[in-house]
């Protein structure tokens, strides 16, 4: 779509959209292939490693090699798997992940379809994938997959709530649910300034929505050994991975548009598509690097901690945000009130996390029991003498 859409000037919105989607799918697939390379390189650097180096310059051909490997792998299905659920699950995860991009405006001119309710559409479609996870978990006929599927469903639904609530706060500030209008609203000041709490909640909940560490509970390698993916192989497995990366892109883009001003801030609407695209990519990359950084440094949460964090921390705070926003709207306070209320709530969110993790009194440090030398090293002379004597006999 990126390259194709402006060139094709057909006055048929459906054809146009279809062509754009096809082009976009291809671009996205290649893009995701290189997202893996990018991720491997960045995470490797964070881990004292080099990442792929052997295939081509800087290992640039590694994703292609991987793709060929995955495509030529045997496609296995357990004999006892539910055929329909097992096969359908892949598409139920893969297609919604791509459908999100229909409503995403990349620059002022480039988008597949201008939906007036685009934010609503994006959130609704991205929330569909949990059905796929449930189906995959059930259809694989494996207990690990079932556990993973149940965990995925619980997690995705739980984090959908704070995510949408954070968006509601933003919608209240801007007064629109159209992503395009929302970007235009951020002409001078990006929304991250007015809604820092919404941004924080979005950041946390979006990691959970794309199931990346530390929220990779449904696929936790050390617990459920891959979770729903455990019985998939070859092309189907790679479609799961692909959709996971596409999801990550989608949420990075969403964050860039809703909170960072997208292509609008700070240069305005009329700077041309080149700079706008660059702005979009840079802002998106910031999110992606953040996701990778978190992945390389945090352990995984436990399911109950994950749940309690969503329901006991994020949702109350996002509700409070909505309440304050409503108060400001009703009494027509100046915009700075958004910043103050939301900023204070953000500080509260940070503290609450610490209190929730460290409940009770502070732990005592380790006791150090000294073990002191009771014997001394004998003087070297007798030892040498003894050795000499030993040699003599």
């Amino acid at each position: 779509m990126l390259l194709a859409a402006p060139a094709i000037d057909i006055d048929q919105p459906f054809v146009n959209a279809a062509l754009g989607l096809i082009a976009f799918t291809l671009v996205m697939t290649v893009g995701v292939m290189y997202a893996t390379w990018y991720e491997r390189k960045i995470v490797a650097r964070m881990q004292y490693r080099l990442g792929p180096t052997r295939t081509g310059p800087f290992g640039l051909l590694q994703p292609i090699a991987d793709t060929f490997k995955l495509l030529t792998k045997e496609d296995l299905r357990p004999a006892t798997a539910d055929f329909v659920a097992f096969e359908l699950a892949v598409f139920l995860i893969f297609i919604p992940a791509l459908m999100v991009f229909v409503a995403v405006p990349f620059t002022a001119d480039w988008f597949i379809s201008a939906i007036p309710l685009s934010l609503l559409y994006i959130l609704a479609v991205s929330g569909l994938s949990f059905i796929g996870f449930l189906l995959a978990g059930w259809g694989s006929d494996s207990k690990y997959a079932l556990l993973g599927g149940m965990r995925a469903a619980a997690q995705l639904i739980s984090y959908e709530v704070p995510l949408i609530m954070a968006m509601v706060g933003v919608v209240m500030v801007t007064g629109t649910v159209d992503a395009y209008q929302m970007i235009l609203y951020q002409d001078t000041v990006p929304l991250i300034v007015w809604q820092p709490l919404g941004f924080m909640i979005f950041l946390i909940a979006s990691i959970a929505e794309v199931e990346r560490p530390p929220f990779d509970i449904p696929t936790g390698e050390s617990e459920v050994a891959g979770g729903v993916f455990i019985e998939y192989s070859g092309i189907r497995w790679s479609m799961f991975q692909l959709s996971s990366y596409v999801n990550m892109y989608a949420f990075a883009l969403l964050g860039a548009f809703v909170f960072m001003g997208g292509w609008e801030w700070p240069f305005g609407t009329d700077v041309g598509w080149g700079l706008q695209l660059l702005l979009t990519v840079v802002k998106m990359s910031l999110f992606i690097v953040f996701y990778l950084w978190v992945r390389a440094s945090f352990p995984r949460l436990r399911p109950d901690q994950l749940m309690s964090y969503a329901w006991k921390v994020l949702i109350p705070f996002s509700l409070a945000q909505i309440f304050f926003n409503g108060f400001i709207i009703v009494y027509d306070l100046p915009d700075v009130a958004y910043l103050i209320s939301s900023g204070l709530l953000t500080v509260g969110l940070g503290y609450s996390a610490i209190f929730i993790v460290r409940r009770g009194e502070p732990r005592k440090p380790l006791q150090m029991v000294p073990a002191r030398a009771t014997a001394r090293k004998p003087e070297p002379e007798p030892a040498v003498v003894a050795a000499a004597e030993g040699a003599a006999t």
């Binding site: 995470v43 560490p213 390698e221 440094s297 732990r363 073990a371 050795a387």
Partner: protein, 375 residues
């Protein structure tokens, strides 16, 4: 006979077979977890997949050949296992080990403890869900240790370097200098791990209060090593029954207060620092020259009849060798009291009513070596 509609309302605990092939069972270990949702209501460990009858095999090997088998049993703390074995034979034969050999033994055993704990740190990080970062922080530094062991013993994994009465051969000329170099890297590794995990909120949330054992429970279940010390029992064979030349060093024994997974991690981390200190002291005291094998050893080692229980503080706990000899050049009976085996026997009690994800952490905190469990 239960009616169909009633059956559908039955709540069933699902048995989950974790292992023998599972990323976080640290080898071929299988535990059947009966889970009610995410809670473990029962845990049934199954071991023995790696059982090779090592004790029987060692009855057929003479005392020198048996040393090699010790490595194969405890492949992460080989020097500790070798040390216990040669100590048992030396005690029966009443061999006096030369000073220099004792120091080199201590240095290598402590460095081995460091490499073993590095392995634990890496693996435990993975168990807790860090995407490989703990591993890649720990392993480059562990690699320096491995290189040192290779230089000294000629092998990366199966060192077989200790001998009854001393060492197999003299260490390399630049051994002391190399040790100092390696210790620098080691300290870097300890710092990295410390910064990555110790203060990490999620790590703390995952570790604190999990799998806690009181001191009484820990003793009754026969735990030893860092597991026991984390429960608040200041028992370390290096201090309480000092063997070799351990009574010549000043060091501290970290003892936990809560006995949970986090304390076990902290105890091991602190132990690494203490090991560095012990190695530094030992390098300082190491006699520059001297014999490395006891003089006047018979060519074929024969022990008098008798029995001895030799024990060392291996990175996992008390590694004991119960050696019964009827005379001759082979053990009549050799029992290896492996700390992994004894620690693992407490797994069920620790995991009951914990979450599935915690069971993984608890198993990880035991730092088992499956070869050492099954022998």
């Amino acid at each position: 006979m239960v009616a169909e509609h009633e059956r559908s309302l039955e709540v069933v605990d699902i048995p989950i077979n974790m292992g023998p092939q599972h990323p976080s069972t640290h080898g071929v270990f299988r535990m059947v977890l009966m889970v009610d949702g995410e809670k473990c209501v029962d845990v049934i460990p199954h071991i023995g997949y790696m059982h090779r009858g090592g004790e029987k095999l060692m009855e057929a090997m003479d005392f020198r050949q048996g040393i090699g088998y010790c490595d194969r049993t405890e492949y992460l703390a080989q020097f500790s296992a070798e040390l216990a074995y040669v100590m048992a034979v030396e005690r029966l034969m009443d061999v006096q080990v030369p000073e220099r050999a004792e120091y080199i033994r201590v240095i290598l055993t402590e460095l081995n403890r460091l490499s073993s704990h590095f392995m634990f740190m890496g693996a435990f990080g993975i168990d807790s869900g860090v995407f490989g970062t703990s591993f890649t922080y720990a392993f480059p530094q562990r690699e320096y240790l491995q290189e040192l062991f290779e230089e000294v013993s000629g092998d990366r994994l199966m060192y077989a370097y200790f001998r009854v009465g001393g060492l197999a051969w003299e260490v390399t000329d630049n051994f002391v200098q190399r040790c100092h170099e390696v210790l620098k890297h080691t300290q870097q590794g300890i710092r990295d791990i410390d910064e990555l995990l110790t203060k990490n909120e999620i790590f703390i949330g995952r570790c604190q209060g999990i799998g806690a054992f009181t001191a009484e429970q820990a003793i009754a279940n026969g735990l030893s090593g860092p597991m026991l010390r984390a429960s608040g029992v200041p028992w370390d064979l290096r201090k309480d029954e000092p063997y070799s030349v351990y009574d010549r060093f000043n060091f501290e024994i970290p003892v936990g207060n809560y006995g949970d997974v986090y304390d076990r991690y902290l105890v091991r981390l602190e132990e690494m620092r203490q090991s560095v200190s012990i190695v530094e002291q030992a390098l300082e005291q190491l006699p520059a020259e001297g014999p490395i094998v006891a003089e006047k050893l018979p060519r074929r080692l024969r022990t008098p009849p008798g029995e001895v229980y030799a024990k060392v503080e291996s990175p996992r706990g008390e590694w004991g060798v119960y050696l019964v000899s009827k005379g001759g050049d082979k053990p009549y009976r050799l029992k290896m009291r492996s700390p992994s085996f004894c620690n693992l026997s407490a797994l069920r009690e620790m995991c009951l009513n914990q979450f599935l994800a915690d069971a993984v952490m608890i198993l990880g905190s035991m730092d088992i070596v499956l070869c050492c469990v099954d022998r």
